[in-house]
């Protein structure tokens, strides 16, 4: 269990954030730039001493203003992956990796050098200097260095934000692989929803130094009352699925979720792989009668639970599919009026298969 409750005042900005998160697991702190998420991370790492609060990781108190406890950063065993890698330029990749390992407590357990370099695909870089690495390679080495310090908690401060699209796609699979292999609790700061979908178990939404909401990714993504999510074009409910079968001939995969089956473009994962899929609200349409002779593959019976006024001339519908899963649908105000959409109305929810990008899942 991760118990965070921190208050800190700067000139013109104050941080007041409290939440608990289960461990192990990945807790994503999500919010716009300047919302205080990186400050929060520095405070957890011990690089910033907050005015007040309490910080407990798996039972060990790292900071408690009430009892004047403050464990300095070098004894917190919080591995940090910074946005700007921060590799030591005068040391080789291998010496960088060993820097934390050499200083880790003797009895600390964790992956060894061989395992980490294999996991991150950096074996061939060991003799190089950081100046000779690409952005994505630097970030992988930084991740390895943090892991090898045998951390009790791994903190990642927008590790992919400084990378361009291609580099990002290069590093992201390593992160999800790491997530499956290791049981270290992770706090992951980001402002990218796709990283949240792929990596996070728990989501903490922050705005202007405050926590707006926290909970499971699935639960929070199904809420329509959170403006920082609802305002985004890529907002949508997250469904936890499991790969059931593939139809290579038709180029389709069948995913089971609570309440139905989702047909998506071929997803290269073996059957039974858990997969998390964000169904973007703008990709979900509704019909009052079951449409026939349409190209849309995914048609679910659903009930309108809520109609939320969002952007001008737009509305956000919350639909419950088969009494279980939630889908969000963004429609025009005109559609709400024409179809008479209101809570309690049974409808059909339509989702095009191609709306799912193959990389949207979480292998």
């Amino acid at each position: 269990m991760l118990e965070i409750s921190l208050r800190h005042r700067f000139t013109g900005f104050s941080l007041d954030a409290s939440f608990d998160a289960p461990t192990p697991g990945v807790t994503a702190i999500f919010g716009p730039s300047g919302c205080g998420k990186s400050t929060l991370l520095s405070a957890v790492a011990g690089l910033l001493r907050p005015d007040e609060g309490r910080l407990v990781v798996n039972g060990s108190v790292l900071f408690d203003s009430a009892t004047r406890q403050f464990v300095p950063a070098e004894r917190r065993r919080c591995g940090v992956v910074f946005q700007d890698a921060r590799l030591f330029p005068h040391l080789s990749v291998e010496t960088n990796l060993r820097y934390g390992l050499r200083r880790a407590p003797r009895d600390a357990k964790g992956p060894d050098m061989e395992e980490v370099t294999a996991l991150l695909g950096i074996e061939h870089l060991l003799s190089r200097r950081p100046a000779a690495l690409s952005g994505g390679e630097k970030q992988r080495v930084a991740l390895g260095r943090a892991l090898l310090s045998r951390p009790a908690l791994l903190l990642m401060d927008e590790p992919l934000a400084a990378l361009d699209g291609g580099r990002k796609a290069e590093v992201l699979p390593y992160l999800s692989r790491l997530r499956r292999r290791l049981s270290i609790p992770v706090v992951y700061v980001t402002h990218a929803l796709d990283e949240v979908d792929r990596l996070a178990d728990t989501l903490v939404l922050m705005e202007a130094g405050r926590v707006l909401a926290h909970g499971s990714v699935e639960a929070l993504s199904a809420r329509t009352d959170l403006p920082i999510l609802a305002g985004r074009r890529d907002v949508g409910a997250v469904l936890t699925c499991r790969v059931r079968a593939h139809d290579a001939e038709r180029g389709l995969s069948y995913l089971d979720f609570a309440g139905g089956e989702l047909i998506v473009p071929f997803e290269d994962s073996p059957p039974d792989t858990p997969l998390r899929v964000r169904v973007r609200a703008r990709d979900v349409s509704v019909a009052l009668v079951r449409p026939e002779h349409v190209s849309v593959q995914n048609i679910f019976p659903a009930v309108v639970e809520d109609v939320e006024q969002g952007q001008p001339h737009e509305a956000m519908l919350r639909l419950r599919v088969e009494g279980q899963s939630i889908l969000l649908s963004r429609v025009t105000q005109d559609a709400v009026n024409r179809l008479g959409l209101r809570p309690g109305l049974p409808v059909w929810a339509l989702v095009k298969s191609v709306a799912f990008s193959p990389s949207g899942g979480m292998p």
Partner: protein, 233 residues
């Protein structure tokens, strides 16, 4: 070498010894001072900054005089040193080295501080999160990264120390074999009838050593940047 008389040789060797000692004693406190000025947040920081840089702008004779007042046999520190340790600085080679060290101190501090400014403090923060305590991260991260500054500062200070005149002659006097360094020997030669040749030879030596020092500092600085991985090979 038949080019120099024994007296001239003595002046050259003494100059080298004094400059070397001044750098050896001045370097550690200069690195500490540079670190305090670059990273420290404490009251009186600007006062410390001013005091360190004073020798750059004050007449060297005044620095020598202040040393004489402080470290003279009657001076507050000089009398203590003499009583407790039997160390006498005035009119000794050690005194010449002290005067030289004080004069070249700001040169080292400036060089080290400049290179400290290029070290990203975030690297030290990264070292902290990896479990490195204050001394550990200074030695393993900060020190290697400012090594070019330390080395080029030390070489510059050494080259400048070879030629320190005003502070040395005021504090340590002009004693052949003890405190008569190159510039003092040149000065004495110009005051002596028939000393023109000695003055010219020693001046040439001074010039050559100063140029060599500056070039070495520049070369070492560049070489270290490559070694530290700042510039890809």
């Amino acid at each position: 070498m038949g080019w120099f008389t024994p007296d001239e040789w003595q002046a050259i060797q003494l100059s080298l010894a004094v400059a070397l000692r001044s750098v050896a004693f001045g370097l550690p406190p200069a690195v500490l001072a540079a670190w305090l000025l670059a990273r420290g947040r404490f009251p009186g920081r600007s006062v410390l900054d001013a005091i360190i840089h004073l020798p750059l702008v004050m007449p060297p004779v005044v620095v020598g005089w202040l040393l004489l007042v402080t470290f003279g046999i009657q001076g507050p520190l000089g009398s203590l040193l003499n009583e407790w340790f039997g160390i006498r600085l005035v009119f000794t080679t050690g005194g010449a080295a002290l005067a030289t060290a004080v004069m070249s101190f700001p040169l080292i501090v400036r060089a080290v501080r400049l290179s400290l400014d290029t070290v990203d403090p975030h690297l030290e923060a990264a070292a902290r999160t990896l479990g490195a305590g204050p001394v550990d991260r200074f030695v393993t991260v900060t020190l290697p990264l400012i090594a070019p500054g330390i080395l080029s500062g030390a070489i510059t200070a050494f080259a400048a120390g070879l030629g320190e005149f005003g502070a040395v002659i005021t504090f340590a006097s002009n004693i052949p074999g003890q405190t008569q360094t190159l510039p003092l020997a040149i000065y004495t030669a110009t005051q002596t009838p028939g000393g023109e040749v000695t003055a010219a030879k020693l001046a040439a030596v001074s010039f050559a050593m100063a140029v060599a020092g500056l070039m070495l500092a520049e070369f070492v600085g560049r070489r270290m940047q490559v070694l530290l991985g700042r510039v890809p090979h």
